[in-house]
Symmetry: C2
Subunit: 138 residues, 2 copies
Amino acid sequence: MLHNATELHHIADRLKHAGLLPTSQRVRIAAAIAALPQHFSAQELQQAVNWDSPEICRATIYNSLRLFVAHGLLQEVHVDPQRTLYDTNTEPHHHLFDPATGALHDLPLGAIELKDRTLIPGKIRPEDIAFIVRIRAS
Amino acid sequence: MLHNATELHHIADRLKHAGLLPTSQRVRIAAAIAALPQHFSAQELQQAVNWDSPEICRATIYNSLRLFVAHGLLQEVHVDPQRTLYDTNTEPHHHLFDPATGALHDLPLGAIELKDRTLIPGKIRPEDIAFIVRIRAS
DNA sequence: CGCAATAATGAGAACAATTATTATTTGTGA
DNA sequence: TCACAAATAATAATTGTTCTCATTATTGCG
């Protein structure tokens, strides 16, 4: 953690730009996210946030995560039935998940091709499709 | 439900063949699964099992599901962060999930292609890769 | 500036899916 | 039949997440 004033101001600006009130908690949460790996869980975020500062309660963490997702600052990734992961990369891309190690990696958009578009119902655009490549337990 | 003796005997045989003791509960659970849609949740199974017969407790349902998966009678599908889904199709194949409707569909093995195999670490065979195609909320 | 309206936060309860515990029951094999 | 090994039931515990609601910030306006 340990962010300087310029950094925090920049974060506040980004929140405002996304249409969010830059409250002190949200700024601290966003700053903690910036210091975490690209993919993280709510729990990891909570620990990072409360590393050295007074506590921000779970509810606010979860609330902010939902808000950040709703405002396009984060993406949710559902690979583990136990917990939701968050991804700071909000560009359309795909994921590779290995349940054996718990590792989650990005895959570029073009890495995967759907052979037959008629398999997808309705008018779904390619950028509205997220692939999750899951290594099967063997 | 309402299964006849021949049917139940056949189910018991399948359990035995998979290396499982065909207890009365497991036979009833397997019979209920046969009457459910291809994809189902533990909850749906529990309701189906206890539809007209004396109750089988949750623990046994969950236990049997885990056993059936471990013995190759069922496949787990993780798409919904809330609950695990089970699939009676144990052949390698892929899934299409629409979070908006909750609908889960099968996709044939050849429907999706990974362009660059070097993206996958280690010696993972194609049949050890499960794709989940997820419609993005838009 | 001060104050009402609005939004955000904290604390803890509530919840849902799943797993663990343990006593009881059932089945198996000698 | 008896001892031993599973399996089951009942229920408690756990985990991740959401809800409730009282308290505290923040904003907009007179």
